[in-house]
Amino acid sequence: MKVTLFVTCLVDMFETNVGKATVELLERLGCEIDFPTAQVCCGQPSYNSGYVEHTKSAIKKMIETFEHAEVVVTPSGSCATMFHEYPQILNDEPGWSARARLLAEKTYELTDFIVNVLKVENVGAKLNGEAAYHPSCHMTRLLGIKDAPFTLLSNVEGLEMRPLPYAYNCCGFGGTFSVKMGNISEQMVDEKVDAAVSTKASILVASDGGCIMNIAGRMQRRHIPVKVMHIAEVLNAH
């Protein structure tokens, strides 16, 4: 299957390894990767801050960039959710809204795509260690993808999954929230870090670059030796 990759701006700039892992993983599963270089950002930073009008041109740019795709896959629950919100954001412009709907319908978060489109539950990954999984808010609540990551992780050879206490609480990232309300964000991420530490797992897995930057950044500051990995990296380990 030909898969058009939306790698997300965070991965493009900061988490190159996640992008590489996603490409290699999908190729191993028999997909042909298409990466349109015209892609930029899904628009969440300005959209979520309330700059809706200013975000529309970026959104339209993304719709054009991915229009040719058969399916769009992205290693981010949050950015996939944003694609799914495009039709409603462009509601006042019926032409664009219809084009946005076509894009939303063919856009999948990575684990959802593997489990529900490719119908693969075991990707043949091997990784020794104990891990906890942080379910990101947009992916679980807004996109409704709850089981796919666990299904895939439970089939990784050598990996022991441990339940993360208070998994349902947000990690405190929230885009600009993390800098606008830094002191609240700090308390939220600390609670997440403490929960991860309490599992005594050596790896914390997540599916969103934003959460990972936040949690890993706080762990590094607190000198906590838990490795924070994107699920694509875990599934690509073999």
Binding site: C9, V23, F35, V40, V52, S57, G182, S185, V189, M213
Partner: protein
């Protein structure tokens, strides 16, 4: 008190409350307990999602036909011999109630829990008029005794206080001499309040739902205080927000089922009281006179706007009980009697953006509130709508942020700009990379980020560079 609880600024309040370890411990353990109980009772009821949809449908229907149901309700209350006053503003509501109090020459007033009377600042008005006003809901009573400490939660107003703090207040104010055992504390409050009920001239209550078809009001409580407040005094005044109506008892049953489970994780509270008008001939108890005060106070301005769904709220506080921001900053930080996600949506609408423009940003838009709401108010979407209004209509966003976001919008819409921008950024950031892995002290907006966490360094080779350089990778 009115909707605003003090003159403090949001940022200062947050700072202060984040230091309050006791409050934070109390809030997080209450959240955990209430979340678990809510999910358990919802599960037990079965088909919870269908119940939610049904609840939403009822609330939407009422809001769309509010004029009709208000008319039906007031006609039916009057048929029962009750008086109805429609108050457009807080002042109007307070004036009417003060008039009733004066006419009755009332000296002592007992109140059962009511958020709308907090919203309009009724107690202060009545006290100024020379009345003794006694809150009889245990939580509200504790706060009143403690120099009118404001509520920090809409269902459990004294959530932020522990039993030792309560013991001290009781010892100081109502001659309490025993331990901090909650049973003993409650017994003492009960005994003290009993004599107040028996000597009160007027009972004032809130209203969970008014039932239009019968002209009834309903009160959902666990303490029984609302029953005493509505049976002993000769006059009853019930104050309700104008949107708190159900058409018939059929819808009432659905909403009460949703309310008690969502609020306190109970199948039913100890008391669900439905009262219809004043005492009739042959009735053993009940007030001789009944007044229903229906308060607008900014609600009708919300009707017909993109914020209308906030009026679906049944004040269960489920959103507050799951909010990860409320969990840490507590209710008082919001500086509104309506805290948490519902408060952050409702308060700027009722109290204005000038005083409350930070509240819509006190959220990560994680959606926990929307998921918990029993009548499906899209709370996180409404918080986002507020941000849009603040930025695009009110022009109240910081100028620097505006410039940054505009630049972002232009950059993100143009691939050449984005590509050069991200490449340039690597160069600009070089001096801040103390080692190769992360940045500990960033410039500009990164300063806030690196105040508490490390920031990843921009990679020399972006993903797109890797992909392009990869053998056979660039197929475009």
């Amino acid at each position: 008190m009115s909707i605003k609880i003090s003159d403090g600024q949001f940022k200062d309040k947050v700072k202060e409350n984040l230091q309050d370890d006791f409050m934070r411990g109390a809030v997080s353990s209450a959240q955990d307990r209430l979340r678990f109980r809510r999910l358990e009772t919802a599960e037990e009821l079965g088909n919870w999602e269908e119940w939610r949809s049904h609840g939403e449908e009822i609330r939407k229907h009422v809001l769309e036909n509010l004029d009709y149901y208000l008319q039906e309700l007031s006609e039916n209350v009057q048929k029962l011999g009750g008086h109805v006053h429609f108050a457009q503003t807080a002042e109007d509501a307070n004036r009417y109630i003060e008039d009733v109090v004066k006419k009755k020459e009332a000296k002592k007033i007992v109140k059962s829990k009511s958020m709308v009377t907090e919203e309009i600042g009724l107690n202060a008005v009545l006290e100024k008029a020379g009345c003794e006003v006694i809150e009889t809901d245990l939580g509200e009573y504790i706060l009143q005794l403690d120099e009118h400490d404001p509520p920090s939660h809409i269902v459990a107003p004294a959530l932020h206080k522990n039993k030792e703090q309560i013991r001290k207040v009781f010892a100081e104010k109502i001659n309490y001499t025993k331990s901090n055992d909650p049973t003993e504390l409650a017994r003492h409050a009960r005994e003290t309040l009993r004599s107040e009920f028996l000597t009160a001239d007027i009972g004032i209550t809130g209203c969970n739902f008014a039932i239009a078809e019968s002209g009834s009001i309903s009160l959902v409580t666990n303490e029984g205080n609302a029953r005493l407040a509505t049976t002993v005094p000769k006059t009853q005044i019930t104050v309700m927000g104008m949107e708190r109506i159900v058409p018939t008892f059929e819808e009432f049953e659905v909403l009460v089922s949703l309310l008690t489970r969502s609020a306190v994780g109970q199948k039913l509270t100890s008391y669900v009281t439905v009262l219809s008008g004043p005492r009739r001939e042959g009735d053993a108890d009940g007030p001789e006179e009944f007044h229903l005060v229906i308060v607008d106070n900014g609600r009708s301005k919300i009707l017909g706007t993109e914020f209308q769904s906030v009026l679906q709220c049944i004040r269960c506080a489920a959103c507050i009980n799951v909010c990860p921001v409320y969990r840490h900053i507590g209710g008082h930080s919001y500086n509104s009697i309506y805290p948490g996600p519902i408060g952050a949506v409702l308060t700027p609408l009722l109290g204005g953006y000038d005083d409350f423009k930070e509240l819509p940003y006190a959220s990560t838009l994680c959606g926990a509130c929307t998921e918990a709401c029993p009548v499906k108010i899209p709370l996180h979407e409404l918080l986002h709508k507020h941000r849009q209004v603040i930025v695009e209509k009110e022009g109240k966003a910081p100028i620097s942020e505006g410039l940054m976001m505009k630049a972002f919008g232009i950059g993100a819409a143009s691939n050449p700009l984005y590509t050069t921008g991200t490449k340039l950024a690597t160069k600009v950031m070089k001096p801040f990379m103390k080692d190769k892995e992360f940045i500990s002290k960033g410039p500009g907006p990164l300063k806030e980020w690196t105040a508490i966490r490390e920031f990843p360094t921009l990679k020399n080779e972006r993903f797109r560079d890797w992909y392009k350089n990869r053998e056979g990778g660039d197929k475009k």
